[in-house]
């Protein structure tokens, strides 16, 4: 126990000195991003209990109302309030993207750590496999998987998780490989600590910041792709509201009621913008790779 703590010390000092700048976590970007995400979360949670109008009852006299003070985002073909439906849809969309990203993180972490830590043939085989998996664009792959499973919220979650996993695995593998050969990790191994212990004690603290950033960034993809699949009619099926399904409903009436797709889109943009800001802000603070400016662009063959 004492051995491993003394081994850890130089690494910690190295990290803090190499930063060479203030590492305040609450930068402007993080605060703004967290605020936007917070607003979306509050709207989603409030939507569980209360919405300005009932979300599924038709109100035919008020169909196709353009946005006004009464109906902030207008009403749809059945006179339902878009804002209320978007509030309820927020829950579905957020749950889908969050579960997809968490699933991808779990599998991606496993594969990335195994490949990065084991090295050798294991790394070679897994890396080539990741190359193959990454040759199919994520959204195209997700579409294909949803096609096999049938359109539903669960299919979308599985499809997005599967589509994101290779990216996660590759990013995590890279970080582990970079951290693996540090003297303090070698020292731990030299002391005879088992692989799980070395990973948990020496590697995880180094990799964790990158993971946090990656997960945040991927949440933005998740929200965007859920909406995209919904827009294609392959997401959560109407009448259940999600941002994606609102978009597909709205698309049919694009010419008569353009506010239908625009309204749900605004929610998507706010959520994604917030998540992106948060991810960017956290990257500046947490990701050691962004602390040095002289290194990002030239990794042409990475």
């Amino acid at each position: 126990m004492t051995a491993s703590t003394t081994v850890l010390l130089p690494a910690e000092s190295a990290v803090s000195s190499s930063a060479g700048r203030s590492r305040r976590v609450l930068t402007g970007r993080v605060i703004l991003g967290a605020t936007l995400v917070g607003i979306v979360l509050v709207v989603a949670v409030v939507g569980l209990f209360w919405t300005p109008y009932p979300t599924s009852l038709p109100d035919l006299p008020n169909r196709f109302q353009s946005p006004s003070l009464n109906h902030l985002m207008g009403t749809d073909e059945l006179g339902r309030d878009i804002f209320s439906r978007a509030m309820v849809g927020a829950r579905t969309s957020l749950i889908i993207s969050l579960s997809a990203v968490l699933l991808a993180t779990a599998v991606g972490t496993l594969v990335g750590f195994v490949a990065g830590y084991a090295g050798g043939v294991v790394d070679l085989v897994l890396s080539r496999l990741l190359d193959i998996l990454l040759a199919v664009p994520a959204l195209v792959l997700a579409l294909g998987i949803v096609a096999m499973l049938g359109a539903s919220g669960t299919s979308v979650t599985i499809a997005l998780a599967w589509a994101y996993t290779p990216t996660f695995a590759r990013v995590f593998r890279g970080v582990v490989v970079a951290a693996r050969d540090h003297p303090y990790v070698e020292a731990s191994r030299g002391l005879g600590l088992s692989a799980p212990v070395v990973i948990a004690k020496d590697l995880l603290p180094t990799v964790l910041p990158v993971m946090v950033v990656q997960v945040t960034t991927a949440l933005a993809w998740g929200i965007m792709d859920e909406a995209g699949l919904g827009f294609l009619g392959l997401g959560v099926q109407p009448p259940a509201p999600s941002w994606g399904s609102l978009l597909i409903e709205g698309r049919q009436y694009l010419y008569d009621a353009p506010w239908l797709p625009i309204g749900a889109g605004v929610f998507v943009i706010i959520a994604v913008l917030g998540t992106n800001l948060l991810g960017d802000g956290l990257r500046d603070v947490l990701d050691p790779r962004s602390w040095t400016t002289r290194h990002s662009g030239r990794r042409a063959r990475a």
């Binding site: 827009f231 698309r251 353009p258």
Partner: protein, 314 residues
């Protein structure tokens, strides 16, 4: 250069073979019987068994794969569509020109928007201009392509009536109309992807600006404009070409949505159609072709980078 190019092309063979195994496996491994799904509630067990036999689905996976691959390599045959019962390859090949045309137009818009914005931000680094541009790119990054596309239709097709809201004429039939038709979907894709390119261009340019040969240039009496164009911007281009290559994945993915929105009869719409009808062989074939397209275009970007920057070839 030729040797490098040949080496990179040779690497594609195992990669594409891997992709073919994978797309094939997706169909097999994912639960749900395609035939039962196709027939719906009306499918009796006998009917299902008969169809399965007809499509060769009752054979072992390895046999099926070998059959499929040998047909693909020997005859370019990607199988028969579940729903239309027609050969997939001709349908697919018909769609490729439309898809490529849109990809190229989308790329042109991406580069035409992304490079200038990125260079501008780098030139005015740490000024209000830089901050305004980086806010703009962040909002752009967060805006879904279908939303941009919808907005474009509302503005250019419905309000201003400048461009058609959708449709496609082959380039060979009527070049002018064809290009006009592809402007709006291309712009939607460009607006969707340019922000990321702008960001990367800014980063690459800023990095070059720190290099000694750039800092030394003004002391030789060179004008600021010359230093920027000949030294900073020029050296920042190769890394951004790599970014463009990697972005092609998002481009082709986003194109699926854009094709659907603008009624563009490309591979993307074929994929969606196949996905909605659960036409497994069609989905499998389109995914394979899109992956091949992605890998090839990506390679092209890497070769261009290598041609631009001799250091890569070493």
């Amino acid at each position: 250069m030729l040797k490098y190019a040949l080496y990179r092309i040779a690497l594609l063979v195992p990669l594409l073979l891997g992709v073919s195994v994978l797309t094939f496996l997706y169909i097999q491994v994912i639960p749900g019987d395609p035939v039962a799904g196709l027939l719906g509630p009306g499918g009796t067990p006998e009917l299902i068994a008969q169809l399965r036999h007809q499509f060769g689905l009752d054979q072992p996976i390895l046999t099926q794969y070998w059959h499929w691959l040998s047909n693909l390599i020997a005859h370019g045959d990607l199988g028969t569509s579940f729903t239309t019962r027609q050969k997939i390859t001709p349908t697919l090949v018909n769609r490729i020109p439309a898809t490529l045309q849109l990809t190229v137009v989308g790329l042109i818009f991406t580069v035409a928007l992304g490079w200038p914005l990125g260079f501008l931000a780098a030139l005015f680094k740490d000024t209000w201009m830089d901050r305004a541009l980086s806010s703009l790119t962040l909002v752009g990054l967060s805006t879904p392509m279908f939303w941009v596309g919808t907005l474009l239709i509302l503005i250019f097709a419905m309000h201003l009536r400048w461009l058609p809201a959708g449709g496609y004429v082959p380039l060979a039939v009527d070049p002018l109309t064809s290009i006009k038709d592809s402007l709006m979907p291309g712009l939607a894709m460009g607006i969707g992807l340019a922000p990321y390119l702008a960001r990367m261009t800014r980063a690459a340019t800023v990095e070059v600006q720190h290099e000694q040969f750039v800092r030394h240039a003004p002391t030789k009496g060179l004008r600021r404009r010359t230093v920027f164009l000949r030294y900073s911007a020029r050296n920042a281009v190769p890394p951004t070409v790599v970014v463009i290559g990697l972005q092609l994945g998002s481009l082709l993915g986003g194109q699926v949505i854009v094709e659907q929105l603008f009624n563009w009869p490309g591979l993307g719409r074929l994929l969606i159609q196949g996905a909605i009808q659960r036409d497994y062989y069609m989905v499998q074939a389109v995914i394979l072709v899109i992956a091949a397209l992605y890998v090839l275009l990506n390679l092209l970007a890497e070769l261009i980078t290598a041609a631009l920057d001799p250091r890569i070839r070493l």
